[in-house]
Each structure stands twice: as structure tokens, then as C-alpha cells.
């Protein structure tokens, strides 16, 4: 633990408040406040408990929801065509019910992507430790919660003990000064940071995002930023909680009420980095220098402003030269091609990165009164049943339908294609998700990552497009 009176970072404070025991070599036993569980990374963990006769230690702090495998088409409550997927969803159902954890089954309107459901239901609160067998657990850091992905062995460890054996990471500060220009979003911030630091830049670190542009983001935007901390190698991203955070949490089903709310807010207000606190690494970016960006390659660090061109592999250094060439071969791109001349045939709006209501609003804003270009397959997958319902109530769903989008049920869907929503070989997709790895959205599929507004713009024109061209009037 940090010595008393030493200025501490937000990370130091949350860490210190969760250490149960610390060994001489710095290995700590850390208490976990919330454990989120989905169907893909938990069956072996529950099986491990059964084989050793262990029980779930804190079912009231454990939340289960199926998301990765679930179809996004109607009728899924009664039948999932894919047998293995069906078995996995059924295994979660059995395990969740038998262990008495909080559970949102496939037919519950609150079902959705675990990282959208947690905050939405008020399970994720400032100052907590949150884990899930999923790397995008970083999302919850938007609340000033220390949140990171774990493997299945650790899922079993948390189920059995509500703790993790951890060593403290290094601390990195990413400051975004000033205000974002029009047409530039949280997704552009997070991609730009990864483009700058690289996918290994955050290895061994927890990132704290701060600065005016971060403060000016909504909770949805902050979740988008923190969600992709892992793409920059950092297991966790953090944003200090403030009035925006408190306003989001207040009234959520599992947020504290009455006197407990007041006590919680008083504690949450102590969760900020002290003046003079130490960071191992500092990155500062001016918000005005951030443009709408897209990825061109097969790593999330392959980021460029939409006004750029496909780079020359030779312009990189070290092992990245071969990697860039391999990326271009896979992506079917030639160096020097203007990014906004790259034609796409698929658009995917959704995922734990960009499947929240604000994301759908931003896309719908671009689509209002416009049509998806002929020959383009466009789908929108709300992050949860409640996001879907809200979008329908706000008339946004109709905007998507009128434009020619498919309006799906909630789940992870084409972000990783574990259900039937996949790219075919050679398909090129404008995606609001988080990974452009080879084969991620389907074998041979080509992914360009971007913001929801940019994906909507691509749907209209049929090519990667600077959204500022379509909304110039508004800008």
C-alpha cells in the first residue's frame, strides 16, 4: 500500500481500499466487489467448483447474463439453432439458477451485453473492483471502478473466494486537453490514443483518462473510451467519478438509496488523483488534434484520420514492417489508396464499445432522411433489451428501419461472430466494435473500426466516409 500522506492516484486509492493481505513480495489478495459472468468463459469455472465441492462465495455480488452466443433474431427464447451455443447458454442458465446469483436470462428485457447490463442495472458503481471473464471489462472503469478482464481459472477463483491474487500494475495518465471538435467522438479519442501508444503501450499499466475532453463526455462516451483500454494493452482504464457519474448512477435498480446514497456519494467524492501523485507514464493529446478516425489494418493500433491514405509497410519500424504488409494483404488494400475511397459491403453498429443509447442516437442522426446504399448489408444490434426498448420509444429504431438497417435483439453479435452474425470471406465491414483482428468477425472478413456516426455515414455512401461531409450543416 502507498504510505500515508503520500499523494495517491485514483488507482492507488481504489487498490488500497480492497487489499485484504499483502505479502512481502507485493503479491496482494484483493477483494472483488462485483463479478460479472457470461456463458463463454464460465462453464469450466462452475465445473471446477463442482469437482472440488466448492460453492459460490458471494452470489449476491455475482451477476450472470448470456451475451456472446445468443442469436439476435426473434424466437431465440425458445430455440437456438447452433447446438454448441445452445449447450453453453443452457449451462449458464443451470449454473446461475443453481448458485443463486443475479441472473438475466435470454427472455428477460434486461438481458444484453454484460458490460452494458452491469452499469445499466446499477451494479457497477464508483470505487468498486469489478471483474469478468472478458477483456472488455475495462468498460466499467468509466465509473472510477477498478475493472479488468480475467481468465476462466480466475473466474473460478473469484466464484470460490470473491478475491483475486494480484500484483499492482503501473499507472499511466492519458490526458485529453481542450474540447473535441464537432464530428469527433469518444471512439475517436480511444482509437487515437491506441494509434499513438500502440497495442502493447499499456501492457502492465492501468490507464487513468483525464482532462477537459474526458470530463465533457457523457457516461456512455467514457465507457467507450475505457472499453478499449485493453486494446492499448492496459487491463483497466479509469475515469474519476464526478457529477456526471453520480447523475447516471442515481435511481438505477441496484444503486444505493436514501442515507446509503448520501454516504456513497461522500465516499465517491474522495476518489480522484491527488495533486502531485506519481504516474509511471504520461501521454497528453490535444482534443483539437483528434479527427474522425478509422482503422486500416488488422490491429487496433492501425489507426489514421479518415482524411489519410493507406500507409506503406516500409514506413514502419522493426517487426511492424512485416505485420503491416501482412495486414494489407489480408485487408486487400494497396498503400497510397485514400481511406475514403475504400468501398464496404457491410455495416455493424453495436457491441460493448458502441451499443448504448447515445451511440444509436448518433448513428440515427446521420441516417435521418437517408438510405443505406444499395447492396450494403447494414445491421444495428442494441447493447441490451432496455437500450432497444428506449430506442424504439425515442423513434430511433424507426429511423434505422426506414434507412434500411436490420433492427436486431441484444447481444455481442458480429463484434466477434460467435452467433450467426458473421462476415463471409472478402466482406468488408464498417464496424463500431473494438477489434479488427484477422478473422475476428468471420473468417476472411475485413474490419474497419470507427465511431457509430462514421459507420452510419459509410452505410449511406457505401465507402469509408468522413461523417463531417454528411453533417456539414450541423457542424
Amino acid at each position: 500500500m502507498t504510505a500515508p500522506h503520500t499523494p495517491r492516484t485514483l488507482y492507488d486509492k481504489i487498490w488500497d481500499d480492497h487489499v485484504i493481505q499483502q505479502d512481502a513480495d507485493g503479491t496482494c489478495l484483493l477483494y472483488i466487489d462485483r463479478h460479472l459472468v457470461h456463458e463463454v468463459t464460465s462453464p469450466q469455472a462452475f465445473e471446477g467448483l463442482r469437482m472440488t465441492g466448492r460453492k459460490v462465495h458471494a452470489p449476491d455480488k455475482t451477476i450472470a447474463v448470456p451475451d456472446h452466443n445468443v442469436p439476435t433474431t426473434t424466437g431465440r427464447e425458445t430455440h437456438i439453432e447452433n447446438e454448441e451455443g445452445r449447450i453453453q447458454v443452457a449451462a449458464l442458465d443451470t449454473n446461475a439458477r443453481a448458485s443463486g446469483v443475479h441472473y438475466y436470462p435470454i427472455d428477460d428485457i434486461r438481458q444484453g451485453i454484460v458490460h452494458i447490463v452491469g452499469p445499466e442495472q446499477g451494479w457497477t458503481l464508483p470505487g468498486m473492483t469489478v471483474v469478468c471473464g472478458d477483456s472488455h471489462t475495462a468498460t466499467h472503469g468509466a465509473f472510477g471502478a477498478l475493472a479488468h478482464g480475467i481468465g476462466t481459472s480466475e473466474v473460478e477463483h473469484v466464484l470460490a473466494t470473491q478475491t483475486l491474487i494480484q500484483k499492482k500494475s503501473k499507472n499511466m495518465k492519458v490526458e485529453i486537453t481542450g474540447s473535441l471538435p464537432p464530428g469527433v467522438t469518444a471512439k475517436d479519442i480511444t482509437l487515437t490514443v491506441i494509434g499513438l501508444t500502440g497495442t502493447a503501450g499499456g501492457n502492465g499499466h492501468v490507464i487513468e483518462y483525464c482532462g477537459q475532453a474526458i470530463r465533457e463526455l457523457s457516461m456512455e462516451g467514457r465507457m467507450t473510451v475505457c472499453n478499449m483500454a485493453i486494446e492499448g494493452g492496459a487491463r483497466a482504464g479509469l475515469v474519476a467519478p464526478d457529477e456526471t457519474t453520480f447523475a447516471y448512477c442515481k435511481g438505477r435498480p441496484n444503486a444505493p438509496k436514501g442515507e446509503q446514497w448520501d454516504a456513497a456519494v461522500a465516499y465517491w467524492k474522495t476518489l480522484f488523483s491527488d495533486e502531485g501523485a506519481h504516474y509511471d507514464k504520461v501521454v497528453t493529446i490535444r482534443a483539437e488534434d483528434i479527427a474522425p478516425v478509422v482503422t486500416w489494418g488488422t490491429s487496433p493500433e492501425d489507426v489514421l484520420p479518415i482524411t489519410g491514405v493507406v500507409p506503406e509497410p516500409a514506413s514502419f519500424a522493426g517487426g511492424k514492417v512485416a505485420a503491416a504488409q501482412r495486414s494489407l494483404d489480408y485487408m486487400g488494400l494497396t498503400a497510397g489508396t485514400k481511406l475514403d475511397e475504400i468501398a464496404i459491403n457491410t455495416v455493424f453498429i453495436g457491441s460493448c464499445t458502441n451499443g448504448r443509447i447515445e451511440d444509436l442516437r448518433a448513428a440515427a442522426e446521420v441516417l435521418r432522411g437517408r438510405k443505406v446504399k444499395d447492396g450494403i448489408r447494414a445491421m444495428v444490434v442494441p447493447g441490451s433489451g432496455l437500450v432497444r426498448a428506449q430506442a424504439e420509444a425515442e423513434g430511433i429504431a424507426q429511423v434505422f428501419l426506414d434507412a434500411g438497417f436490420e433492427w436486431r435483439l441484444a447481444g455481442c453479435s458480429m463484434c466477434l461472430g460467435m452467433n450467426d452474425d458473421q462476415l463471409s470471406p472478402g466482406d468488408r465491414c464498417a464496424a463500431t466494435s473494438n477489434r479488427n483482428f484477422e478473422g475476428r468477425q468471420g473468417r476472411g472478413g475485413r474490419t474497419h473500426l470507427m465511431s457509430p456516426a462514421m459507420a452510419a455515414a459509410a452505410a449511406v455512401t457505401g465507402r469509408l466516409t468522413d461523417v463531417r461531409e454528411l453533417v456539414r450543416e450541423a457542424v
Partner: protein
């Protein structure tokens, strides 16, 4: 978990940087509810074509490396998804050790839970080991966790360092959960304290 003490085996060179866990084990194989049986699909989309035929250019399909137990990899091995299916697939194939200049945190951590030793070495050492690995089955590398030394086929030795607790667990094949459960009174004490200090949790 099997102990890891000393391993002598063939090392396969995989110089590509940023080998992600989607590449190590693609999503279609995550639908299993077991830990075993993933070895045949390790690096599936690199190893096989769309019809399921072996791609002869891929290193693990070459005769010299079909039984590789060590991988020498490019920077940032194991980035991306937290899927523990990645180390399960490596283990099921027979890989017990990966050496690189850096690993993604979650993958690195997952290795230790499965008796796989991930070793971080400086670029110049990885370059030597990568070169050595290209000699195929003729180059057998020895990894000694007790001494924390890697020895190449021609006797060059390189030291490495592993976190003492993790090294202890690997050397003895210890199960973390059992160790933590011995601390149940401390955990309960913490919970009792928190019930007063932060009752909303």
C-alpha cells in the same frame, strides 16, 4: 495443474508481432464447455485452409515443428481477448513455454494457471533464440525454471526472472484457490469491515 520444473524440447519460431488470442484459438472453438481438446484447433486459421487442409507453410505443420513444446514469438504475444482457451489450446497441443519480448497481461496471467511458462527476454536474446529455433528439430532448447535459465542447442545460457510466488506455484503445481481458501478468516474479516464502511456494496 502439472508442475513445470525443466523442459527440453523443440522451439518453433513465430516472429510475427501482436499474435492475438483470436489467432491462437478462433471464436468458433470457444463454444466448448471443457478445457481439453482444443489442441487440434490451435492457430486454426493459420494452420488450415478454408477446406480444413493443412497449410504447409505454417510453422507447426512443418515436420521439424509438429511436436514443438516451446514457441519463440514476436512482441506482445497473446493480446486481445481474455479467453483462457488460448493457453488451453497451447497446452493441449503440447506447448509448455512461450518466449517473447512482451506478453499481453491477461494471457500472461492465464499461462501460470495452466502450467505454461511465459518468459520475457530482451530483444537481443529473443533474436538469438529465434535464430536457433529456425534450425528445426536439430535445435532443442532447455528451459530450467528452478535455475531460471534458458540454454540453446549449442550451450549458450540466458537467465530470466519469474515472480517468486508464480514460480513457486509452477514448480509445485499448486492450485491458487486452495491457497486462498486457507485465508478465509481474513476474507471474512474484510467483508465484516466493509459491511460497515461501504454497506452499499
Amino acid at each position: 495443474m502439472d508442475k513445470f520444473t525443466q523442459l527440453t524440447g523443440v522451439a518453433a519460431p513465430m516472429p510475427l508481432v501482436n499474435i492475438d488470442t483470436d489467432m491462437i484459438i478462433p471464436k468458433q472453438f470457444l463454444k466448448t464447455i471443457q478445457r481439453s481438446g482444443l489442441g487440434k484447433n490451435l492457430f486454426d486459421e493459420l494452420r488450415y485452409d478454408a477446406q480444413g487442409n493443412e497449410n504447409p507453410d505454417f510453422v507447426l505443420n512443418q515436420p521439424a515443428y509438429r511436436n514443438a513444446e516451446i514457441i519463440i514469438a514476436g512482441d506482445n504475444f497473446g493480446c486481445g481477448s481474455s479467453r483462457e482457451h488460448a493457453p488451453w489450446a497451447l497446452l493441449d497441443f503440447g506447448v509448455r513455454c512461450v518466449i517473447s519480448t512482451s506478453f499481453a497481461d491477461i494471457f500472461f496471467n492465464n499461462c501460470f494457471k495452466n502450467g505454461i511458462l511465459p518468459i520475457v527476454m530482451p530483444q537481443e536474446v529473443v533474436d538469438v533464440l529465434m535464430e536457433d529455433a529456425t534450425r528445426g528439430a536439430n535445435a532443442r532448447i532447455t528451459v530450467d525454471l528452478e535455475r531460471e535459465v534458458v540454454t540453446t542447442s549449442d550451450g549458450k545460457e540466458f537467465t530470466f526472472s519469474i515472480d517468486p510466488f508464480r514460480r513457486h506455484c509452477l514448480l509445485n503445481g499448486l492450485d491458487d484457490i486452495g491457497l486462498t481458501m486457507e485465508k478465509a478468516p481474513a476474507i471474512q474479516g474484510f467483508e465484516a469491515k466493509m459491511a460497515t464502511a461501504r454497506p452499499w456494496i
